[in-house]
């Protein structure tokens, strides 16, 4: 088939449409012919990071044209297959990964399915991406009845407006024979059309689909309706058939096996492909799908080796070892019309009677797997010795519940004959599956946690002497030894990790050197006399002094600590020296030994006056009173001619108190009166001469009037340089 895939260009598209209309169109307006009507789809198939397949059916043959773009109503790209047909299949390539594109279906210029917010496709995220993934899992849904719709509506309510990345059909998609009309009712009409137009659907072949499908020729409604990658287009190894295939979505690798028609023996075509495929992926999560469940006690019995032609047994015995040995995490099946979910198990390939919980349930796998219950199942963890394990789910009740099976397979944690569908949600290291009942109740759920690259992941080895603790290639947690003190001995082998000079505490302990300064065999740290080789303790005498035990003066203090060893009254010389008492008789603070007046509290030396007589100098003339005969006259020490207190300044033999002409006269305010004030040399005054007075100053050399001197009005004042007048 030749498709014309090109970027929309107005001119070329118009030209092409013109040619196309002329050749094939039978639009109502142009030729009066009925426009085609889309009676199935559109629905999405074979998603990849860069492409998607869109399929739809028209009631009459028409061309196949899709326009698309990244916004609703803006469809800048177009692809056209002009060949007239009713079942249309267009593959759009060259897309960006993890991108939402809106589209519409066209025929001959007439929009058959107009663009809308819910008419879109989303390309796969890059392989290995940890983008969240949600898959809706539908096992045996194809009854086309209200039960199927109730299950559908419950999921729609669960999902709300969130995008569903894929639908995983587990087979028996259309009862009873998988004919096209049954598919129409069980899938495309009044059933899943709302979600199929924006969610990529994948499927595995069920036995009822297989009635009208032929896997070896890839014919029949099932193969007509679905388009799967057989050349590895969506990731994984090319299978060369659509009966079994694989694809990647984000960090999940999906392996779809055909348990119904394809050879199930070991080394058969499907087995060999599956082996190369699973051994070729390094995706974090591996999910396998096939219709016939390896473990069930529902409407089918996996213990019946002939059940369904031995398909259950074949898948269990031949494929489970291959899948488990190569890391499968989740196996989804249908066929039994019930919901059965296993513990976290590994290595059970026989009848249920051979199931041994001790060996077949992996470590940490016997709980409910619920984060809010017994805890999630752990896989690939260093705390999980087997590092293997998978969950098996038989979920074949998306359209009906039948049978009277005992629902007691010992591998199963939860078994119920209830309508419902499962939801797979993967986000990075977490894989969660929920079983959603028509009521909306989530009756079962579990989570598997898978640690990523363990090597190099942080951990705690329990030793404080290491840093950067990480898991090593043996899954041991080990750190890099620290050398905190830089002494080249790592902390794990250094008992003194903070002392660069020691690796053992020794006698002194970390941080203290083991030095023995005095060489007495005792390290300084324990030698209280580190400089005295003869002593390690201070003793009474102290370091450096031998303990002689002599007390010469018998005062109770050994001579080594008695600085007056011969003075029984003293151990220190004090002020007075050994042998001399420190008595201070007069209590003046000076011991008698240094007090020359030991009984005179006011004196420590006799001075001029002698002990007991104070050195008082009342007139401050430098002569103490004891030798000053004029103790109150600062100018005299003897009464002389004039007596104490009277001078003869002009030395004229006339005492000043009777001598009107003195050598120097200082006239003060108290003296100021009317009269003559005379001096041989100098008259000085700072007085104020009040009114009414008559004052005269007379001096031989000078009359000094100081700044405060003042003469008031009405005063007669004269100053003369003439000396005394009498």
């Amino acid at each position: 088939m030749n498709y014309f895939n090109y970027k929309y260009k107005a001119v070329s598209t118009a030209l092409l449409l013109f040619i196309y209309c002329g050749l094939f169109a039978h639009g109502d307006g142009m030729f009066g012919v009925i426009d085609p009507e889309v009676i199935r789809g559109p629905y999405l198939q074979k998603g990849t990071e860069s492409s998607v397949v869109i399929k739809w059916r028209t009631d009459i043959p028409s061309g196949s044209e899709v326009k698309w773009g990244t916004s609703v109503g803006v469809y800048n790209n177009v692809i056209l297959d002009p060949i007239l047909k009713t079942d249309h299949e267009i593959e759009i390539t060259g897309l960006a990964s993890a991108t939402t594109y809106y589209y519409e279906i066209i025929h001959n210029g007439i929009v058959l399915v107009p663009g809308a917010t819910d008419l879109y496709f989303k390309t796969h995220p890059a392989v290995g991406s940890t983008d969240p993934i949600r898959a809706w899992i539908l096992g045996d849904p194809g009854t086309a009845n209200q039960d199927q719709r109730d299950v559908r509506d419950a999921y729609y309510n669960y999902a709300g407006s969130s995008h569903t990345d894929m639908i995983l059909f587990l087979g028996d998609n259309a009862y009873n024979n998988g004919i096209d009309a049954q598919y129409q009712n069980a899938m495309f009409e009044n059933m899943y059309e709302g979600i199929l137009k924006n969610t990529i659907a994948w499927s595995t072949l069920g036995n009822h689909d297989g009635i009208t499908a032929n896997s070896s020729t890839q014919t029949g409604p099932y193969y007509d309706i679905f388009t799967f990658p057989k050349a590895g287009e969506s990731g994984g190894e090319p299978s060369g058939t659509e009966a079994y295939y694989s694809f990647d979505h984000g960090n999940v690798h999906f392996i779809i096996l055909d348990s119904n028609e394809s050879p199930r023996e070991m080394n058969g075509a499907m087995y060999n492909w599956a082996e190369t495929d699973i051994q070729g992926t390094s995706q974090k999560w591996i999910v396998a799908l096939f219709h016939h469940p390896p473990y069930t006690k529902g409407s089918h019995n996996s213990d019946n080796i002939a059940d369904s032609g031995g398909r259950l047994k074949d898948m269990r015995e031949n494929f489970l070892p291959l899948l488990e040995d190569n890391g499968v995490d989740l196996v989804l099946s249908g066929h039994s019309h019930s919901y059965e979910r296993s513990f976290f198990i590994n290595g059970h390939y026989g009848l249920s009677t051979t199931f041994d919980p001790n060996t077949n349930i992996v470590t940490n796998g016997n709980g409910d797997g619920k984060a809010d219950g017994d805890g999630e199942y752990m896989k690939g963890s260093c705390n999980q010795p087997m590092k293997e394990g998978a969950i098996y789910i038989t979920t074949g009740s998306a359209g009906k519940i039948t049978g009277n099976g005992s629902l007691d397979h010992p591998s199963m944690y939860y078994s119920r004959k209830d309508l419902g569908s499962a939801v797979l949600e993967v986000e990075g290291d977490e894989l969660t599956v929920k079983f959603v009942r028509p009521s909306g109740a989530i009756d079962d759920y579990f989570t598997i946690l898978k640690s990523d690259e363990i090597i190099g992941a942080p951990c705690d080895d329990g030793f404080s002497c290491t840093t950067n603790d990480v898991y090593d290639s043996l899954c041991d947690c080990a750190g890099t030894p620290l050398d905190s003190d830089g002494d080249t001995i790592d902390d794990c082998n250094d008992a003194c990790p903070l002392d660069p000079n020691k690796i053992f505490p020794g006698i002194c302990g970390c941080g203290v050197p083991e030095t023995d300064t005095d060489g007495d065999g005792f390290e300084d740290c324990i030698d209280n006399c580190p400089m005295d080789a003869a002593k390690t303790e201070l003793g009474i005498c102290g370091c450096g002094v031998p303990e002689t035990n002599t007390d010469s003066d018998g005062d109770g203090f050994q001579d080594c600590i008695d600085n007056c060893p011969t003075d029984a009254a003293k151990t220190e010389p004090g002020i007075c020296g050994c042998g001399v008492s420190e008595i201070d008789t007069d209590g003046d603070g000076f011991e008698d030994c240094i007090d020359n007046c030991p009984t005179d509290v006011t004196k420590t030396a006799p001075g001029t006056c002698g002990c007991g007589d104070p050195e008082t100098d009342t007139d401050g003339d430098g002569f103490p009173d004891c030798i000053d005969n004029c103790p109150t006259d600062p100018f005299k020490t003897n009464p002389g001619l004039c007596g104490c207190g009277v001078a003869d300044l002009d030395n004229d033999g006339i005492c000043d108190d009777v001598d009107d002409c003195v050598l120097v006269l200082d006239v003060d305010q108290s003296q100021m009166t009317t009269g003559l004030f005379e001096a041989i040399e100098t008259v000085t005054s700072d007085a104020i001469i009040n009114s009414g007075l008559n004052v005269n100053f007379s001096a031989g050399n000078e009359v000094v009037l100081r700044p405060d001197f003042e003469v008031k009005g009405g005063v007669t004042f004269h100053a003369f340089i003439q000396g005394c007048t009498n």
Binding site: N214, S215, S216, T217, Q218, T219, K230, A231, G232, E237, P238, S239, G240, T241, A243, S262, P263, G268, A269, M270, N272, W273, E275, T276, Q279, G280, T281, S282, K284, G298, S299, H300, N301, D303, N304, A306, D307, S308, G309, D325, N326, G327, H335, S336, K379, G380, K387, E388, T402, G403, N404, G405, K450, S451, D452, E453, I454, I455, Y471, C475
Partner: protein, 258 residues
């Protein structure tokens, strides 16, 4: 005999329902054919054959009846009867793909591998869309013959398949096996090298080539490939390295290195 007490889906109920209908309409060909198919699905092959016989007596569609006989006799292990029925059907519908498939299966079970190969070849010819299993079945028939000539035919089939289907690694691996069996070692090495180059994970492909080198007593090249194999393992995520199969593989390589 029906497997009483053993769950078999809703087949029991459907057989009971058909039987009730047939009690009311015992000569209804459509009901007989329907129940014959249900008996077959329920592993009650003789009951299935009896319903087909009755339908034949009543003039039922002989093509459906012959196919029913063939698959039921095949399950019963009565290969001559099965072959007779399917050959009769192929006379009527020589291009009926599924009949050739059934005939090939009968012949394989009966050890007539050459004839089975012819039927498988015919299936390929009739298929508009070639599929891996078609070629695989033909190769299996030649494998069962086991002669060098058969191996050479298998090689031819694989080359044809690879040309038709593109790179199918399982086919390439089989081709290498057959080239070694037929002593075409240099070709085997060349194909194995292609496998290495095109593999996402190369650890097993290197090991396989090491074995080929060892077969040629070229231990130096073998050691190089063993080392590459180990290196490929060590490049894998730790969780994969820890898998049982990977540990076994590594042990095998290390043993060879010694």
């Amino acid at each position: 005999m029906p497997l009483l007490g053993m769950s078999h889906g809703d087949l029991d109920e459907r057989i009971k329902a058909s039987t009730k209908e047939l009690e009311l309409k015992p000569n209804n060909i459509e009901l007989l054919l329907k129940r014959a198919k249900l008996f077959y699905q329920h592993d009650e092959f003789m009951r299935s054959i009896r319903d087909y016989e009755k339908a034949e007596d009543l003039g039922g569609n002989i093509k459906i009846i012959l196919e029913g006989y063939a698959v039921a006799w095949l399950k019963k292990g009565q290969y001559d009867f099965a072959l007779e029925s399917i050959d009769s059907l192929l006379v009527l519908s020589p291009e009926y793909h599924k009949a050739h498939d059934t005939k090939a299966e009968i012949l394989m079970k009966n050890g007539a591998y050459e004839d089975a190969a012819l039927s498988y070849r015919r299936m390929i010819e009739l298929s508009h869309e070639k599929q891996t299993p078609l070629y695989h079945n033909l190769i299996s028939a030649y494998d069962s013959i086991g002669t060098t000539a058969a191996h050479l035919k298998s090689i031819h089939v694989i080359e044809e398949a690879l040309k038709e289907l593109g790179t199918i690694k399982a086919m390439q691996i089989k081709l290498v096996e057959l080239l070694i069996k037929t002593n075409q070692i240099s070709d085997a090495l060349a194909i194995q090298t292609v496998i290495i180059q095109t593999s996402n994970r190369k650890e097993r492909a290197y090991l396989k080539r090491a074995y080929i080198h060892l077969g040629l007593e070229d231990s130096e090249s073998a050691q190089k490939d063993l080392l590459s194999s180990i290196e490929s393992i060590e490049l894998l995520p730790f969780r994969i390295q820890q898998m049982k199969k990977m540990k076994e593989l590594k042990a095998e390589i290390e043993k060879l290195q010694k």
